[in-house]
């Protein structure tokens, strides 16, 4: 499933989208340590699969948590996205 974690408020839409069907295949879980701000973790979902998710406490502030990785100019590839071998992670902004 495609899980959109994040929020929408007056300033815009801020979501990290994780394709958990692809996550399930992964043994590496490199995305979790790749994030310098501990935004990601592995959870057991409702269908009893171990998948990647945004940490609960971070879900309502990811705009700010992810900001350091997203300078306005010359943005390098995001560490979390680069660490995923299955292209399961994307950011809506």
């Amino acid at each position: 499933m495609k899980a959109h974690y994040g929020y929408k408020d007056g300033s815009g839409d801020w979501f990290i989208i994780i394709d958990t069907d692809k996550c399930v295949e992964c043994d590496d879980r490199g995305c979790v340590p790749a994030c310098p701000w501990d935004v990601l973790e592995i959870i057991l979902d409702d269908y009893d699969d171990e998948v990647c998710a945004v940490v609960e406490d971070q879900r309502k502030k990811i705009k700010y948590s992810c900001a350091p990785c997203k300078p306005d100019r010359d943005r390098p590839p995001l560490p979390c996205v680069a660490a995923c071998p299955y292209d399961a992670l994307e950011h809506s902004w």
Partner: protein, 292 residues
């Protein structure tokens, strides 16, 4: 003092059914930030439910909702084989056997209420707004939940009902009594939209027009969340706002798709899905117990 935001609490049970003849009796309890529902399913069929305002104590609300759902049925908690808690307060349902997220439960509940053709469910709760895509079995294939912002939630609507001194159940109908659709309120924030609305009232706008402007802004906001996840037919709406025709109609007009008409109370989707999950888990549990 009249509290315009206070919607009616109620309960119901199927008097034609004798639950004692049932084999699998399970319950789902959905403790939301604004409302709580408890629901009993007997052999895969809806048997009874209650819908009430969540108090300041989640476990207490769960208990009250459950007791009310059982009132007059002769059933007690001991007769129930498995209870699943869901909703914001799901970890606080003391008598539950398992907690499952409201995302999974709403998908499952919508699948029961609207049939296996449902692929996109919009749930507008008291303090959140969810878009859930599911398959023919009611399993989630995608979702997004926004619970950061009141715009697009029941609380946002309650604030307006209060401001305009109109009982919340009448808000939707009243908003449709306009000759011409006004511009939506420009503020996405409920707090600012409220000041904006006060200004419009001063300019002489009738209440129906102010509500129309607000419902229109709400509908648009929800549409952007829907588009984030993508809409696939059939489309269905659950949650309290499903009863607000002012928002529903404007939503349908904007996305160009009609929502499946509800035949059940739209607020029970979470608890219903939870009770159905509970049934599967009960069957599994009994099957494993019989092996040993």
């Amino acid at each position: 003092m009249v509290e315009y935001w206070r919607w009616k609490e109620y309960r119901w049970h199927d008097e034609s059914k004798d639950w004692r003849k049932g084999e699998f009796i399970t319950a789902g309890v959905d403790v939301g930030s604004v409302s709580s529902q408890a629901l009993v399913v007997v052999d895969g069929e809806l048997y009874s439910f209650s819908n009430m305002r969540t108090g300041s104590d989640s476990p207490e609300s769960a208990r009250k909702a459950m007791a009310w759902a059982l009132e007059g049925t002769g059933m007690t908690l001991d007769d129930i084989g498995f209870v699943v808690g869901t909703g914001y307060g799901r970890v606080n349902v003391p008598f539950s056997n398992k907690a499952i997220t409201e995302i999974a439960c709403h998908a499952r509940g919508a699948n029961y209420m609207y049939g296996s053709s449902v692929r996109t469910v919009l749930d507008m709760g008291g303090q959140d707004c969810k878009v859930i895509r599911c398959d023919e079995k009611g399993k989630v294939t995608a979702f997004a939940m926004n619970d950061k912002c009141a715009a697009g939630t029941g609380r946002g609507m309650e604030v307006f009902a209060d401001l305009l001194a109109i009982p919340i159940e009448e808000v939707g109908e009243l908003s449709l009594q306009v000759d011409e659709e006004p511009e939506p309120v420009s503020s996405t924030c409920v707090v600012f939209a409220k000041s904006e609305a006060t200004g419009l009232l001063r300019e002489g706008w009738p209440k129906s027009k102010v509500l129309a402007a607000y419902c229109s802004a709400m509908a648009h906001r929800i549409v952007t969340l829907l588009e984030q996840v993508g809409i696939e037919k059939e489309f269905a709406i659950t949650g309290g706002i499903g009863k607000n025709i002012g928002v529903v109609k404007r939503l349908e007009d904007e996305i160009g798709i009609k929502a499946l008409p509800p035949t059940y109370d739209t607020q029970i989707a979470g608890a219903l899905g939870a009770a159905l999950f509970a049934q599967n888990l009960l069957k599994k549990k009994l099957a494993e117990a019989s092996k040993t």
